[in-house]
């Protein structure tokens, strides 16, 4: 059974936000909405300070709290693990947004554009009124994954079938693949390196693995 997962190599990430921008562009998200973003996390006290860059977004959890609370079944989980939102079913109640412990969901009530009220030609191409006033989030670029696998491509290996953020990462910190396949890129990375998952104690079963050593 295919199970899509993402691996984030914290040793590599430099916080450059290339993935943040690539995701925004590929998915035409409005200003302020960052389905993928990179945190700049500082802990400690001068001079013993640690600064870590942490890419975050929807974890496509095994046990997604967002799905359980959704009153309309707009949020569902596919067999391959991707948690999807049917924008046409969503009533925009925001319940999923307070249910998500990863702050991964966004709702934009009014159309907004980079430079004021009017979209640029590029924004016009990507604008989808169906995504106003409903919940949105990272989809693991499900359209790319599906279109790619339909052509026999391997998501995470073949760029056309791979999420935009993973494609864009200049440090090689992001990886995508089938975690249920022991021979996959992500399986090798997880097996060969120490890793953790975020907020694991909440029992969500997140499918983003953070490598640290």
């Amino acid at each position: 059974m295919t199970r899509w997962a993402m691996v984030v190599d914290l040793r590599r990430c430099v916080g450059c936000q290339t993935c943040t921008a690539a995701c925004k562009q590929a998915n035409a998200t409005p200003p302020g909405v960052q389905w993928r973003r990179v945190l700049d996390m500082e802990v400690g006290e001068y001079p013993e300070v640690q600064r870590t860059f942490v890419p975050v977004g929807c974890m496509h959890c095994d046990d997604p709290p967002c799905m359980h609370v959704c009153p309309s079944t707009a949020t569902r989980k596919r067999e391959d693990g991707i948690v999807t939102i049917d924008y046409d079913l969503c009533i925009g109640c925001g319940y999923c947004m307070v249910a998500c412990p990863y702050q991964a969901r966004f709702k934009t009530d009014r159309a907004s554009f980079a430079y004021g009220d009017r979209p640029t030609d590029a924004e016009d191409k990507g604008f989808d009124g169906g995504r106003l006033a409903v919940a949105t989030k990272c989809t693991f670029c499900v359209d790319r994954v599906d279109a790619g696998t339909a052509q026999g491509l391997t998501p995470g290996i073949d760029p056309e079938a791979t999420p935009a953020c993973v494609n864009s990462c200049i440090a090689g910190a992001l990886h995508f693949g089938d975690i249920d396949n022991p021979a996959s890129n992500v399986s090798h990375l997880v097996a060969g390196n120490t890793h953790f998952r975020m907020h694991e104690e909440l029992g969500t079963g997140p499918r983003m693995y953070y490598l640290w050593g």
């Binding site: 945190l39 013993e48 300070v49 600064r51 609370v69 009153p71 925001g94 975020m198 953070y210």
Partner: protein, 292 residues
């Protein structure tokens, strides 16, 4: 705001708080009114009407907060796991039962009102508990707290109603019911508070709850207790003291729920279990900014 340490959620605003206030008090009022009817054979029919109004107002506020309000029928689609669906499914029969109970007195309508109101109140409390992204909401102790405060507020509203409409003299049974509910709420609040005072929680949550605690305890327990006990002890003043005690219990409940929904509702924030190996800086392993 770096949006790394927990920050106040902005998805549910005062309208959502209004749902828990209106729906909680309303269903609590219905419970108290129905209990009064079943226990003593007498009740204030206006209470059922007021309860229905409060519940409907609360739901109306939620409707206003929806991004796509005209798709509201979709809210019924997920009873399998969604407490919001369950609350929504209970609401129509509950409002009907309250309408019937308001116009036609009778034990049957009382039972229906009681059972459906309890179910509604319980669903509401579970709505918050299922919100895994907000530590102040997902704590299981919030269920008894919201149920208890719903009933305490309902009892307070019942006593207040008596003073407003002057329909019935304040019944000692109603006052005793209010005292019991307030006592239960105080235990529930104490238990809920203790969880956040001791364990790991967002610093903001802990601070917000600590900030409202004196008001909740004073206005929500101490003052109503004094007033209601005095009302029982001084029958001549009962029609003055009982409603005041009820008002205090009601106001404290509303303030507490508003604060939980709006002021203590810090989200989970982000944390890393381990920094990358072989890096400069702090030696501690886990980094959980904004938690203490």
């Amino acid at each position: 705001m770096d949006r790394i340490a927990p920050w106040l959620q902005t998805h549910w605003d005062a309208r959502a708080a209004g749902n828990f206030i209106g729906g909680g008090t309303g269903s609590g009022l219905a419970i108290v009114a129905a209990a009064m009817l079943l226990a003593s054979g007498e009740t204030q029919p206006a209470a059922f009407a007021l309860a229905a109004l409060l519940i409907a107002l609360g739901l109306g506020l939620v409707w206003l907060e929806m991004g796509r309000p005209w798709r509201f029928l979709h809210v019924f689609l997920h009873p399998h796991t969604s407490w919001m669906t369950r609350e929504a499914l209970i609401a129509p029969p509950l409002l009907a039962a309250l309408g019937i109970a308001a116009w036609f007195e009778g034990a049957a309508s009382g039972v229906a009102a009681l059972v459906l109101s309890l179910a509604f109140l319980y669903s509401q409390s579970q709505i918050l508990r299922a919100a895994k992204g907000i530590p102040a909401w997902r704590e299981p102790r919030i269920v008894p707290l919201l149920v208890a405060t719903g009933i305490a507020e309902g009892a307070g509203a019942y006593l207040l109603l008596g003073a407003v409409f002057g329909v019935l003299p304040e019944s000692p049974f109603a006052i005793a019911l209010a005292l019991a509910a307030i006592f239960a709420r105080s235990l529930a609040w104490s238990s809920y508070r203790r969880h956040f005072a001791r364990g790991s929680a967002p610093t903001g949550t802990r601070g917000a709850l600590a900030a409202i605690s004196p008001t909740v305890v004073m206005l929500g327990t101490f003052v109503p207790f004094v007033l209601l006990l005095a009302a029982l002890a001084l029958p001549d003043a009962v029609n003055a003291l009982a409603p005041l005690g009820g008002l205090a219990a009601l106001a404290a409940g509303w303030w507490m729920k508003y604060a939980i929904v709006r002021r203590a509702a810090f989200n989970q924030g982000f944390a890393i279990a381990q920094p990358p190996a072989e890096r400069s800086g702090a030696t501690r392993a886990e980094a959980r900014p904004g938690w203490s």
